[in-house]
Subunit: 205 residues, 4 copies
DNA sequence: GATGAATGAGGGTTCATTCAT
DNA sequence: CATGAATGAACCCTCATTCAT
């Protein structure tokens, strides 16, 4: 019952935050949308930002669980295997973003509307994501599968790519097949943009 | 004289928005910091969001000018030349972000705190950036220098990489030499992460 | 409970509007005078003008109810009966104005201080009053009791007389007996100023 | 030159006050409409209300001059003469209101939007008007031309009639011939509404 | 636990007025 | 005299949060 109300509040809030933005959404709107009384809100959440944070936490927990957590670097032996893994991760990311489009929108577009304290909380999620990616990169580096580029920098670049890949998959081209998107992302991430046929000296035969 | 006040207001606002966030910064703070009266603010800016937008516009105008505008795709003939150009662009981006650290912070961290109207304005900058990148990619594709990946997707991935590269250069590793960062970004962007020594079938001799 | 607060707010506002005028009265004054919090005001009224309008509406509803509504023209047969009715109406008007001196003051003196929208609303009351009077005049004209003067013009002249009669009864001569005032108004309205003894050709034998 | 500016300011203000109301008209609007600088306003008028008062004073001076001042009670001897005079006064009033429609509108509709001090000033005009009418009535009473009704009360009733007659002539029926309106007003004022044919005991043969 | 009326601090914006040029 | 940029006091209204029922 109690959990039910919290869930209704979160669903209502996710919808409204997405439509009107965090700042423009009033607690009164949320409770109206959820069909409970104004005061009830504060029995379930400390305040408005903390409801937002709960949504964000949910998003990140789910995302990590369905991506990196399911695809440990350890078992990989060849570049081919890595490529397969990476492609699956990209596909999982894109599917996750589309499945939780509201939450994705919130994370990508509303996180900065929060007051400093909660904003830091959200940023910590991104940092943890970058850390996890950095660690993953280090492992595959030690396996000799990827180049010796500085992992923290690359991790942050990947974070940016992931953000915008989700943005693209959800807002720009919501109908593009996720496998196809995942394939392109993987190709770009692992082998870069340069045409192998071009006269370059980087990837010699 | 008049322009001087506008400049003082923008400088004061950039500082305060960066420190406390857009929402938490009151117009009263800005004018106090700039040393003018409250009413004077509204002689120079329509309202608080529009001052923010002025800062953002400034940022993007400068960024485009110092990067893509100076490095047209047309003249390129070889992958080596492209790589050199791309590296210079990355370096310019990183230098720009560091030179205008306050504005960069605002764009990366505060843009979504705006009311809907102004937020749309900011988003249009990102879209225009993506468009410009997509066009650039198309041109180098037609020159046969880069692979036939879908340009709009890649453009958005690059936008994400740029955002996080600036983030990294300004916040995470403010002392890392920009040339070095630019080199790594270029390597990643053009040739990908995969170790050429690894057993892969993607870049055959 | 809720109605009680609205009543307190209206009473406080009527007093302050009367003393200091609509514009000079701040919402803060009203709530202080009513003993509630600033925000409470907006639970009961949309804004300051709409509280004023509520007072005005109350005034007109009561005035109509105690005057024209109680004295239909239909039953009248002789000029004597009409005169008696008219005198009772004048007496009712004067008593009403004195009984609700604050509201009367507001209607007579503050109505034009409102913003356009609400001012129109008030003006509509006057127009409805004129309409009602015009209809009354038409009925008694058809009964042959009054002259064939253009009813809408006369109705507006009567509106002016009523306004100033209330003004006189409330501000100029608050102690004059209302029956006496009503008698004079009736005499003036029905038989005019001209001395019958004077040599005139208007009311021939 | 100086007077010219004052005149332009008054004309501009009369127009704007009429259209948007006193409160909603900003000094900035007036000077823009008059084609002078903001500061120039204060070389010619103490402040916004005092410009309004100047317009009102002008209105009343002209009105008195063209009505009562030209029609002294002294020379009258018969009711017929009085009726003729009264009708001319009514006609003059109506013509004046129509000729100075903007000023009339201001006096009838905006006077109460003023701050207390200036509002009192305007009210004094009405009181002086009532006084003048009362004196006129006394004189014609002493000449035996009009009934012995209390002059101050009647004076105020006449003020109300005049206000609403102007209102009618300017707003309700701007095309009705003024002589005709003046005739009806005179008939009503001097001989009342009652049909002489009706069975009444007030005006016996 | 649930309610929702009451709270009251907070801040963006307006605009009459001034005064250095 | 004229200018118009600068001033800053004033005020309405919002809305997150509380608490008596």
């Amino acid at each position: 019952m109690t959990d039910d109300i919290a869930r209704k509040l979160k669903a209502a809030a996710a919808e409204l935050f997405t439509q009107q933005g965090f700042t423009a959404t009033r607690v009164a709107d949320i409770v109206a949308n959820a069909g409970v009384a104004q005061g009830t809100f504060y029995l379930h959440f400390e305040n408005k930002p903390s409801l937002f944070v709960a949504l964000i936490d949910e998003f990140f927990a789910g995302l990590i669980e369905e991506t990196l957590a399911r695809h440990p670097a350890k078992r990989l032996q060849t570049g081919e295997q890595l490529a397969a893994e990476v492609e699956e991760i990209w596909a999982a990311i894109i599917r996750y973003g589309r499945k939780h489009a509201l939450l994705t929108t919130l994370v990508l577009r509303e996180a900065h509307a929060l007051p400093p304290e909660q904003r830091d909380h959200v940023n910590r999620h991104f940092e943890q994501g970058a850390d996890a990616l950095a660690q993953y990169l280090e492992e595959v580096q030690q396996l000799g599968l990827v180049k010796n580029l500085p992992v923290r920098l690359i991790a942050w670049l990947l974070v940016g790519m992931i953000e915008r890949a989700m943005h693209y998959a959800v807002f720009v081209a919501p109908n593009a097949p996720s496998v196809s998107l995942a394939g392109h992302c993987t190709e770009f991430e692992l082998r870069g943009l340069l045409n192998c046929g071009a006269a370059v000296s980087g990837c010699p035969s």
